[in-house]
């Protein structure tokens, strides 16, 4: 097993749209195990492949208190969703930032397991929120996209500042057209 590097906002690779998983082989199993290790070590409750620079549609989660309920969703699709849940989210790709985001309260998801078998599952509360958050990653979307751009810029600056030692990330300097 190996810990993987987690990409951090505003890394443009986080904006990549993931492609479906087609091969359910040993390499996929290895990736899933590595993603769990990376998630538990971080520590986090969910991790999408996009965050470790693998642009395939899979994510891992464990929202249990004692970290004993690992869940894998491959090629997930939300079938139905209802209710409104506003909760504070954080993201391993946007370290130290926590903001309130509105999501569906309950979702029914269809996905495949690590062997390719299709399953459906109902999720609610934190699990539903986490699933929606991770599925956004597969579309190249981050939870900060739900915030005002003012807030997002502030976050970007805050992160830039905290990584001062590292090279400045590619924040866009707007082209001067009035």
């Amino acid at each position: 097993m190996a810990r993987l590097e987690i990409l951090e906002f505003p890394d443009p690779r986080l904006r990549t749209k993931a492609q479906p998983v087609e091969q359910f082989d040993a390499a996929l199993g290895q990736l899933i195990d590595d993603m769990f290790e990376t998630m538990y070590e971080a520590p986090g409750i969910g991790l999408a492949a996009t965050q470790v620079n693998v642009h395939r549609r899979l994510l891992v989660m464990d929202v249990s208190e004692n970290k004993g309920q690992p869940l894998v969703f491959i090629n997930p699709q939300i079938l139905t969703s209802d209710g409104v849940e506003i909760s504070e989210e954080g993201c391993l790709s946007v370290p130290q930032i926590f903001e309130e985001v509105q999501r569906a309260e309950r979702v029914r998801v269809r996905a495949q397991d690590r062997h390719g078998k299709v399953f459906e599952q109902d999720l609610d509360g934190l699990a539903a929120v986490c699933l929606q958050h991770e599925m956004d990653h597969l579309e190249g979307k981050l939870f900060v996209d739900y915030l005002s751009s003012l807030k997002r810029d502030r976050i970007r600056r805050k992160l830039d500042k905290s990584r001062r030692a590292q090279p400045l990330s590619s924040s866009r300097i707007p082209t001067p057209v009035a």
Binding site: C130, K161, I173
Partner: protein, 461 residues
């Protein structure tokens, strides 16, 4: 996803940039030092940081001093370095910025040297560096005594002489071996204030007359019929027909991007990175019956597109979406033409945004090129066979320009580079594509353009 372990609501302290002293010169230097510090420490654009002074009576002076200092930052910094006991890096950022602002003024302003020094000492007190007022005084006076030797020491290396980071000098030298040094000089020149005229509403001759009546002076850009340069810069509100929306501020190179797409009334066109809306406006003025979709990923910047188009009295469909994500906004009808003015290093507009030299890092270029490639691919999927696409950037680095387009052409059998529509602009062949460099006579900003066509099925190579 993760959840919060401990609350951490510490807010950064507000930097004092505005004092109550009556000394205007000191206020200007203090404010400019604050702007320079915030730009360099927080990686924000000077325009953005200047917003806090929008209503300041000394806005123009603060802006001029701050931009001038950013333009010559590494030079000012190198001039004070030998005078400090600690290295500039170990000096408090605000103090270092104030010293650089003052040195820039001593070098470039026509104010008496003595009054600049005393204004800088007062500015130190205004920004809360009272303890360093004596140091500011001592350093600046010693600078004046040793100025000639200090300046002479910087003349040998191009990076120091032209105040550019070494990596950028190296990139530009290898990209433009015949004129890299002129390019470095042009990056430090003051940019022209260029206007775009809506020729459906006012003719060039008419507008030059109106400028003259308003006590201003205009000059035609010979290679672009919509472009007029105002030779004495002025607040935009004072420009004739600005409020009426018949005139906009836009560099000639950006105007040219719209012209190279050659929009025709009735066509469905996508402006793929539209904010703040200058190119959307230009497209609609060339073809008022265009069915234009203006897309941008940033909601707040997209709002500026709406504001700009409202002033022009033009309409477009506005979409806030990430171009490279699944196009949920799209109705499934392919576009006739797409203008992709991709996010880039902005190394072609350093004369307008000198902070780019210090904020941009060499490592950014590769990531930008990847993003540009993805955006180009996303646009291609929205373009109808037989349709045309103009890829543009305000970069002068081949890695973001010809290299991106060359790779795209190699990977897409249905993509061809085509001749741009007839124009008179002084473009250099970049193969593939065309480059405007900012130092040409009456030249626009540094800009790159490639005109691509998506082959219709059955259309031979």
């Amino acid at each position: 996803m993760n959840t919060r372990a401990t609350r951490n609501d510490k807010r950064p302290p507000r930097r004092a940039v505005q004092g109550a002293a009556s000394d205007i010169a000191a206020q200007v230097l203090a404010a400019a030092a604050g702007v320079v510090t915030t730009v360099l420490e927080e990686g924000r654009t000077a325009d953005d940081v200047m917003m806090q002074f929008e209503d300041h009576p000394q806005l123009r002076a603060i802006r001029a001093v701050a931009l001038g200092t950013l333009r010559w930052w590494s030079r000012c910094d190198a001039l004070i370095a030998p005078l400090l006991t600690r290295s500039p890096q170990q000096t408090a950022p605000l103090l270092r910025a104030l010293l650089c602002v003052a040195v820039h003024q001593l070098q470039h302003s026509r104010n008496p040297l003595e009054s600049t020094v005393s204004a800088a000492v007062n500015a130190a007190r205004l920004v809360g560096l009272t303890h360093a007022a004596g140091l500011v005084n001592a350093v600046l006076r010693r600078f004046l005594r040793e100025r000639d030797a200090l300046v002479a020491a910087l003349e040998s290396a191009p990076a120091q002489r032209h105040a550019h980071p070494q990596w950028l000098v190296d990139e530009l030298r290898s990209a433009w071996p015949d004129c890299w040094e002129a390019l470095l000089e042009a990056n430090n020149a003051h940019p022209p204030l260029t206007l775009r005229l809506d020729l459906t509403r006012v003719s060039r001759e008419d507008y030059l007359r109106q400028l003259q009546e308003a006590g201003l002076e205009g000059q035609l850009v010979p290679w672009l019929p919509t472009a007029v340069i105002v030779t004495k810069p002025v607040a935009v509100e004072r420009l004739p027909l600005f409020r009426e929306g018949a005139v906009s501020v836009q560099d000639a190179s950006a105007q040219l991007a719209a012209r190279l797409l050659a929009p025709v009334d009735g066509e469905r066109v996508l402006d793929a990175c539209a904010a703040p809306g200058g190119k959307s406006g230009a497209l609609l003025e060339l073809a008022p019956e265009l069915r234009l979709t203006a897309l941008d990923c940033d909601a707040q910047r997209a709002q500026r597109v709406a504001d700009n188009l409202r002033r022009l009295g033009r309409t477009a469909g506005l979409v806030v979406a990430d171009l490279t994500a699944e196009p949920r906004w799209w109705d499934g009808v392919l576009f006739d033409a797409i203008l992709l003015d991709a996010p880039c290093s902005a190394t072609g507009v350093i004369r307008r945004h000198p902070e780019i030299k210090w904020l941009r890092r060499e490592a950014d270029i590769e990531a930008l090129a990847e993003q540009q490639q993805r955006m180009l691919q996303s646009c291609w999927a929205l373009l109808k066979p037989g349709g045309r696409l103009v890829y543009a950037t305000c970069s002068v680095l081949p890695a973001e320009n010809a290299a991106v387009v060359a790779r795209f052409l190699a990977e897409h059998a249905d993509a061809r580079e085509v001749e741009p529509p007839a124009h008179e602009a002084p473009l250099r062949r970049a193969n593939p594509g065309w480059q405007m460099l900012p130092m040409q006579e009456a030249g626009g900003d540094g800009f790159y353009y490639a005109c691509l066509k998506r082959l219709a099925t059955g259309e031979g190579p």
